[in-house]
Amino acid sequence: MTRRNIIALALSLGVGLALVARLAVAADMPGVTATEVKIGHTNPYSGNASAYGTIGKAIAAYFKKMNDEGGINGRKINFVTYDDGYSPPKTVEMVRRLIEQDEVAFLFNTLGTPTNSAIHKYMNQMKVPQLFVATGATKWGDPQNFPWTMGWQPTYQAEGHIYAQYVLKNVPNAKIGILYQNDDYGKDYVKGLKDGLGDAAKKLIVMEQTYETSDPTIDSQIVNLKNSGANVFYNVTIPKYAAQAIKKTAEIGWKPLHLLNNVSNSVGAVLKPAGLQNSKDIVSTFYLKDPTDPTWQNDAGYKDWLAFMKKYYPEGDLSDLGNVYGYTVAQGLVQVLKQCGNDLSRENVMKQAASIKGLSLPMLLPGVKVNTGPTDFYPIEQEQLAKFDGERWVLFGEIYDASKK
């Protein structure tokens, strides 16, 4: 055997061994190498819902920070994020690419109710985690039928419960008028309220109006609601229509108790355009620290977030709650990865995600904790009510825990 042959043999053996080793890793832990874990994500960076695009950017920025600090258990995060334009067929295309071509370990915080619905079955057939999805629909916490999918934020139904309790306790002779978006999101909110009201629902709800996202305005619906004699307005609308509704109620001189869904309680994106004076006394719910709230000015969690934003996402809007959301959910995932240790198999990722106990994160409201279990796929279930005083949201009352009701 010549020396060249020996070298060739050694080389091919080496390559062969490396291949075997790689295959072994790939079989056990797709998307994971000794130095890296590849994570997939979709987000609307363009199109109708692109205001949410900043969430994806904040997450990417946070992972960059983690990588700069040495990664997690020695592995860096390779965050692959694609634009789906909030269009379900596009989401399917992008997710198939992530799983079948990019071979990511799992999906994380894919955004939107219709978009996540489109890949729900596929993910569970492929047995790839669809972790901490960015939507509050109730169907994401169904480990029995969909063991590979898990929600993150409080559900719309849970929030509806809170408003129901508030009305029952504080408004004698309540007559509730509802405006909701005619889809899963809107209906979830309405169901939550009705369940919370219980038998009283039929009597208390005097009118329900819907709108479609193609409607230019919702003026007609507001006029009808006012005319119904309602003294409580349950406003289940996305930011554009929420701002219109606030302005219109003021314009036609309707002064109900205004309950505004969490989806649209951004001061910058909704209340300011609608007019801060018009927004006075609106009630909504929170589970994150609002970065515009001076209460948190000297809070360590807020200061860290601010420093992070300045260093890793300087072009991000400091008044946008989306950036707090992205930061916080990314921290949630980091906790899961830490718990996984060296075993980043898809099974273990789901197992660890389902065993988070009493985790507090710096930008969650004090008292709000992340909890999951084998049968509890709703990580955050606590919220607090707040009233707008004309300048900012003022938290009041206790932390409400939906898992205890």
């Binding site: 109708n48 819907t210 409607d215 230019p216 305005t217 003026d219 009808n224 219109q244 809007d317």
Partner: protein, 293 residues
């Protein structure tokens, strides 16, 4: 009774919005025989320019006038650069080019100004006018007035000015017009410029109501098409009236016809159009197109 009147008033307000954009659509159709799908996005983009100017400290009406001038030049430029190369191409090509323009303008606006909705000032008082139990938004009335002024100016322009007459001639009979010494190519460009200007007015009147964001014209454009079809694509007055009719009908049907409710409002508007197209294809006030063969 109050509810009926209030729904009619609110229908007129929304109808005015549809009508103002429909007016821009009709304008470009009359001047160049093109249905411009990018009209809404052009209006949205002009409104962002106005927003930038107002934020830079210009008084409202100065910014308003400046925006009209910029929109006119912008529309002119779009015709010269984008539309002219495909001028003689089949209709489908022009439609595709317009849709491309729509997507580009939408994305550029989102990229430059972000997708967060912004408040846009109204030149009219904020306080609503109240008569009995019916509330009239001051801005809604003002916007309707502005639309009517635009309509009247267009009427005068096309009826009594040399340029207006030349533009009409160029659109209707390019060959003869050229023989008369009218520069047909430029007339088409001016048509785009004027349509962009009318669109800019519509955008600035709509934005205080629906708020300024890159997608603000999406839904409105559908209704504007409906209004223009109803009133007739060849009749500016018809387009505005068509808008008002669509706005009022959709509100009344949504309120009083129980099984339709608010869920099928858009469907009603589209059904009305379908009926009009079957009974009177050129719209309520449009002229039937006659071609010598």
């Amino acid at each position: 009774m109050d509810i009926f009147v209030q729904q009619v008033v609110s229908g007129l307000a929304t109808g005015g919005i549809y009508g103002s954009l429909a007016l821009a659509l009709v304008m470009i159709y009359q001047a160049t025989d093109v249905v411009n799908y990018a009209q809404g996005e052009m209006a949205m983009f002009s409104t962002y320019l106005a927003w930038t100017l107002i934020n830079a400290g210009l008084p409202y009406w100065v910014a308003f006038a400046a925006t009209l001038a910029i929109a006119f030049v912008g529309g002119l430029a779009i015709e010269r650069v984008v539309i002219r190369p495909v001028e003689n191409a089949p209709v489908l090509t022009i439609v595709i080019v317009c849709i491309g323009l729509l997507v580009i303008l939408n994305s550029v606006a989102g990229w430059v100004y972000s997708y967060i909705q912004k408040p846009f000032p109204s030149p009219f008082p904020e306080k609503p006018i109240r008569i009995g139990n019916v509330f009239f938004g001051a801005h809604d009335l003002g916007a309707l007035g502005v639309t009517l002024v635009v309509l009247l100016s267009l009427y005068v322009f096309f009826r009594y000015t040399t340029l207006g007459l030349a533009m009409r001639a160029a659109a209707q009979n390019p060959v003869s017009s050229r023989l008369c010494g009218i520069r047909v190519g430029w007339m088409l460009a001016v048509g785009w410029g004027l349509a962009a200007l009318v669109g800019a007015v519509a955008g600035m009147m709509v934005a205080p109501v629906v708020f300024l964001d890159p997608n603000m014209m999406g839904g409105i454009l559908i209704y504007a098409f409906a209004s223009a079809t109803l009133g007739g694509f060849t009749s500016p007055g018809g387009a505005v009236l068509g808008g008002l009719i669509v706005g009022v009908i959709e509100n009344l049907v949504g309120t009083y016809v129980r099984f339709i409710g608010t869920e099928l409002k858009l469907t009603v508007a589209l059904a009305v159009i379908l009926v009009v197209l079957i009974v009177k294809p050129s719209g309520l006030f449009g002229r039937a197109a006659v071609h010598r063969v």
